[in-house]
Symmetry: C2
Subunit: 196 residues, 2 copies
């Protein structure tokens, strides 16, 4: 029980380091400082070294995504309600738009080759799950996939822009309008907003 909590805390710290510095930038010195463990201790917990640390961090983020984003999307409630939950959960997931996304960090640069398969799979599950909500709302499946991609693309882009501009306004705007934008044109939303 305590061991689980310890490992979970350790992994959370790993996620934070990798999210801030990326795979190459997250040196063992930084990881050691962030976790309070010496290098050798880290190798005790992750015998395969840094790559295993990063993979474990990626797995944890995947678990978070599953629990706090995807599971709520699969509920029985009305699509518009599920999407409003999504907005709320995304806002917390990305800490009001101030965090970077680990998927993005690992999908760029050298680490792309190491983790692209996992990232691709995770993104596709995310997109498919979101698209199903839109299909439930009456949107034709061929539009649903595109809109789901659009939503995730806007979230990622808003996080990037937030880093570049050092300001979270765009992220908050994207998150806020997401439910109505996604359901625009369906019976769920008679008059949606469109990039206002």
């Amino acid at each position: 029980m305590q061991k689980l909590m310890f490992k979970d805390k350790l992994l959370t710290q790993l996620v934070n380091v990798f999210r801030q510095y990326g795979y190459e930038g997250a040196t063992l010195a930084r990881i050691s400082a962030a976790t309070g463990l010496g290098r050798a201790s880290l190798y005790h917990h992750f015998p395969k070294g840094k790559e295993e640390m990063a993979a474990s961090a990626l797995n944890l983020v995947n678990t978070w995504l599953e629990e706090s984003i995807l599971t709520p999307l699969r509920q029985e409630s009305e699509p518009i309600e599920r999407l409003r939950d999504l907005s709320k959960n995304l806002y917390e997931f990305y800490n009001c738009g101030q965090q970077t996304c680990l998927f993005t960090m690992f999908a760029l640069g050298e680490s792309k080759d190491l983790f692209q398969a996992q990232i691709q799979k995770a993104l596709n599950v995310w997109i498919d799950t979101l698209a199903q909500v839109l299909i439930d709302a009456g949107l034709p499946p061929e539009y649903a996939r595109h809109r789901a991609e659009d939503a995730i693309l806007q979230i990622q882009g808003a996080l990037i822009l937030g880093q570049g501009l050092d300001e979270t306004g765009a992220f908050e705007r994207v998150i806020k309008r997401l439910p109505e934008q996604l359901l625009n044109g369906t019976e769920q939303v008679s008059r949606g907003i469109c990039l206002q």
Copy 2:
């Protein structure tokens, strides 16, 4: 004349390396291999070392942005025409969505601190220039800024998603609908599309 061409070619190769590997991942060994110059030769052209190489690459991208994106946006033609040019130029600028954006690469990770001021300035100029087109088209200024941010955010997000999914469909879709989406609700476009 030939010197200018040489330096320009060298800088272009630098941009490619930094865009692919990011600041930390672009080691001197890789830069040396990509340019065909030895380390010492690189230090002859960039006495302040890697940071100067990266700053020069960023400057070149800024020049490209100014010439092929911003200047066309400031023409005298109709806003819808300028935005259609924008789509075409963006498509080439990002090589059909297969390239990553150097702004994004440098805005994340360790290099953020080094270049954030330049990136922030470049993004703001881009946003302001695009917003002016929308104002010219009759959009209220307070909406114009937001829509311009939305456009750039979608472009960046589409590039990220393209890397993660290894597929450029989203980027092409974003680029194609950009003009109508940006002018939606203005007299220029009586019936725009909205995330179809």
